[in-house]
């Protein structure tokens, strides 16, 4: 019997698939029963109360003689933490040394590395994907003056909400360094961040921010857009710059 999984904050397709015994999230996500949900949605950016249909497991039969040794390849998904680091001035932080605590095993000896030429940090998550512990990222940036700066970020993996949700927009603005508030009730702070973002990335100082974007409350319907609903350019730019 197929089941329905109701998403909780912090869950994502790979974690849900693994919980029900699937090695590849696409087996679940691309199931016909999820067509409506999957339309224009990122499977790793789910919203609480989204409903994911979990198909029945299909036993795949491969006839082979019993007297020989056989090798079977099982397709698995690898999952990564992939972040672009930027400094106060919005420059990409290239070749910066970082330390990441991504799993319990890393606590004593954090993983170390350097960001690439476009400021990207990439680390692979250990299996199983659930639960992923809170991730800590420490970066050392050496700016123009030569004084190393230490920045620490506390991440919650899987907690990014969809872009058409106020909470999802707030989280992206927070990630981009525009403090947009701790929760969806802090609309004043959210508006501050929206206007700052528009100024820096859409208007580019050429014209004034004209109107306060209209906000409606978060609704339970995952496909009803909330947050800034009268500004498609804003939403597009926000996702483009944030990266997902």
């Amino acid at each position: 019997m197929a089941k329905t999984h109701v998403v909780k904050q912090g869950e994502h397709a790979t974690g849900i698939a693994e919980r029900y015994g699937f090695r590849d999230y696409k087996t679940v996500w691309e199931d016909g029963a999820n067509a409506a949900l999957a339309k224009n949605r990122n499977p790793h950016v789910l919203h609480p109360r989204d409903e994911v249909a979990v198909p029945d497991k299909v036993v795949k039969k491969v006839p082979k003689p019993t007297t020989e040794t056989h090798r079977f390849r099982i397709a698995t998904t690898k999952l990564f933490l992939r972040v672009k680091l930027r400094d106060f001035d919005f420059n990409e932080v290239k070749s910066a040394k970082y330390e990441v605590v991504i799993s319990a095993a890393d606590v004593k000896a954090p993983r170390k590395g350097s960001t690439d030429g476009s400021g990207i940090l990439k680390e692979e998550f250990d299996r199983p994907f659930e639960p992923i512990v809170d991730v800590e990222v420490r970066v050392t940036v050496v700016p123009g003056s030569g004084t190393p700066q230490d920045h620490k970020f506390d991440l919650r993996v899987g907690h990014l909400n969809p872009k058409h949700k106020l909470s999802g927009q707030q989280a992206r603005l927070n990630n981009l360094g525009y403090f947009a508030g701790f929760d969806v009730e802090d609309l004043q702070q959210f508006l501050w961040a929206v206007e700052e973002f528009q100024e820096d990335h859409i208007l580019l100082g050429k014209s004034k921010v004209k109107k306060t974007p209209k906000i409606i409350d978060e609704t339970d319907d995952p496909n009803t857009p909330t947050g800034v609903i009268d500004d498609a350019a804003f939403l597009e730019k926000l996702v483009e710059i944030h990266g997902c």
Binding site: Q9, H12, N42, H44, V45, T77, K78, L79, F80, L81, R82, V83, K84, L85, R86, D87, F88, D89, F90, F125, F129, I132, D134, P143, G144, S145, T147, Q149, D150, H151, F153, D154, L155, R156, V157, G158, H159, L160, N161, A171, N174, N175, L176, G177, F179, F182, D183, W192, E195, E196, E199, K208, V209, K210, K211, T212, I241, H242, G243, C244
Partner: protein
């Protein structure tokens, strides 16, 4: 939590304060599956967060329409120096490093914008010059007057009127008039000669280049030193957020905000009257009304904050205002609207500033927006005077009952007090306090903390033994005002002071009576309370005073404006 130091000192001359503890902002990110590597990522960019501030008010700091810093600014600089020394010690990386600053000057709305822009920039530069001991900047302000902002011999007279060295009497005791009369001209010349002689300079009686350089330097030390009288001096490269990359314009390090960020807006009627002000009395009234808006605010940013002045939105201190206007709120006009019959203050409404970029620093800053915190005082022992503060104990406070509620860690101060930021008017605060051995002296004293934790303060992660701390749950914001529901208000306060066994909302009549009797018995003779059984007004007021208001002695309380409730 980056900042467990708690300083709030607000007075008529200005303010020095730490910003409310900024809780960790968790960044929500999406994991990226293999096939989308190369397409998807999450961006992480640090926030620009100010951790402390200093405000210098016009008087006694500045004279009206002037960038010259009067002797009255000295106590504020000293308080600021002490705050900076505390913050320096708090840097986990390097105890010799001050966190970096940026300085914002503000003018009032009278006069044209371009004039005010420059005046506000000159004031900010004047403060900057003192902090980095750059007498050349002062000399520039002295030699190049801007409208009414003319230093003249008034500045020289003012500087010679203070004791420039310990036990050295002032060189000048005459009127501060810019040497306009024959008498004061002679007196000023004489004072300058004496000064020049004392400092081994040619006795000219004029404030020439060499004399000004020496006098400015000594007066800067008079203004800006720590509590021990040692010079407090910052490095223009190390201790400012733009690292002096723009040496000439000081972009990013010093800003002039013109009249764009008022902290006070008069009523429409008053403004109309001010606009018509012709005679001196009317102008004086107008200028007095806007006094609090004429100020310089210094923000201290997190350690490791460094910005590129080329990308900094604020224009150079003394340049035009066009770049400021680009940064205005979309509803900037509404924010400074004068409303009929209604005065507005940033302190109360938090919406009087036009510049959105500046607003972000001002809104959480006690120097601009005042302060609201939950103040909680821990004491042991109910019977006065044996109730003693539970001082210098580690605490963990979870502010709010939502998932990932902010956690604040630190130590109680000498009064046994902690201050937690008000994030919500009504919330649950879970408190853990390392104090079992205070209540039960037979219990073993807490073990000394492992050395690696020392010095890291609340910046470190969880205390290893915090789960063993004594636990309290506070219903913050639920405290009844004594005028509202007298019984409920009294019960809550009696309970918080240690009386009763059950939650106050569950008290039966008997438990309530017993608590009142115990309270009156123990406070007999204090604040007019006498032994007795009834909850009379005197008892109620005494409860309110003791629970909500009373200041423990000594030391004095750091905070005057916390909300009622704990």
């Amino acid at each position: 939590v980056a900042d467990p130091i708690f300083v709030v000192d607000i007075g008529p001359d200005g303010a020095v304060a730490t910003h409310p503890v900024r809780v960790v902002l968790h960044r929500a990110v999406a994991p990226v599956p293999q096939e989308n590597v190369g397409k998807e990522f999450n961006t992480l960019r640090p926030e620009l967060v100010a951790i402390a501030c200093m405000r210098l008010n016009e008087r006694p700091g500045f004279e009206f329409d002037s960038s010259f810093l009067g002797a009255g600014a000295a106590p504020r600089f000293t308080k600021f120096a002490e705050l900076m020394k505390k913050l320096r010690k708090h840097d986990p990386k390097n105890e010799d490093r001050f966190p970096p600053l940026s300085i914002f000057g503000h003018a009032d709305p009278t006069g044209d914008v371009a004039y005010n822009k420059k005046l506000s920039g000159r004031r900010a530069k004047s403060v900057y010059a003192v902090l980095v001991r750059d007498t050349k900047i002062w000399d520039d302000l002295y030699l190049k007057p801007h409208g009414g902002d003319r230093w003249t011999y008034k500045a020289i007279q003012s500087m010679l009127s203070v004791s420039l060295k310990t036990d050295e009497p002032p060189f000048y005791t005459g009127a501060i008039d810019g040497a306009k009369t024959k008498t004061t001209q002679d007196e000023t010349r004489e004072a300058l000669k004496k000064y020049q002689e004392a400092r081994g300079l040619p006795r000219t009686g004029f404030a020439n280049d060499g004399t000004r350089a020496k006098l400015f330097e000594e007066y800067m030390l008079f203004l800006c030193h720590d509590a021990d009288g040692q010079a407090f001096e910052l490095d223009p490269v190390k201790h400012f957020i733009a690292r002096n990359k723009d040496k000439k314009g000081l972009k990013g390090d010093v800003e002039g905000c013109a009249e764009f960020n008022p902290v006070f807006l008069p009523t429409k009627e008053d403004q109309d009257r001010f606009d018509k002000a012709k005679d001196d009395a009317a102008k004086e009234e107008r200028n007095a009304a806007f006094a609090e808006t004429r100020r310089v605010v210094v923000y201290v940013f997190r350690h490791d904050t460094e910005i590129d002045p080329k990308k900094w939105p604020c224009p150079v201190a003394e340049s035009g205002e066009a770049d400021c206007i680009k940064r205005f709120w979309s509803d900037a006009d509404q924010r400074i609207a004068r409303k009929p019959g209604e005065e507005r203050r940033f302190l109360e409404t938090r919406d009087t500033m036009q510049c959105r970029f500046y607003h972000a620093f001002a809104a959480p800053s006690p120097c601009e927006a005042g302060i609201r915190r939950w103040l909680v005082r821990f004491r042991v022992g109910f019977v006065l005077p044996s109730a003693v503060p539970i001082a210098n104990r580690r605490f963990v406070a979870t502010v709010g009952d939502v998932a990932f509620a902010p956690v604040v860690r630190g130590r109680t101060d000498d009064n046994g007090e902690i201050a937690l930021p008000v994030l919500d008017e009504h919330t649950t605060i879970e408190l853990k306090l390392d104090a079992w051995d205070v209540l039960f002296p037979s219990r073993p004293k807490p073990q000394p903390e492992p050395p690696e934790e020392q010095g890291k303060g609340a910046d470190s992660d969880a205390f290893p033994d915090e789960e063993k701390f004594m636990k309290f749950t506070l219903d913050a914001g639920a405290l009844e005002l004594v005028d509202a529901d007298k019984d409920a208000a009294a019960k809550q306060r009696l309970f918080n002071l240690g009386l009763g066994k059950n939650l106050p909302s569950e008290w039966k009549e008997e438990e309530f009576k017993e608590a009142v009797r115990d309270y009156r018995q123990s406070r007999d003779g204090k604040r007019g309370v006498t032994a007795g059984a009834a909850l009379d007004d005197t008892t109620l007021q005494s409860l309110r005073t003791e629970h909500d208001v009373e200041t423990p002695e000594p030391p004095p309380p750091p905070d005057q404006e916390s909300p009622e409730g704990s």
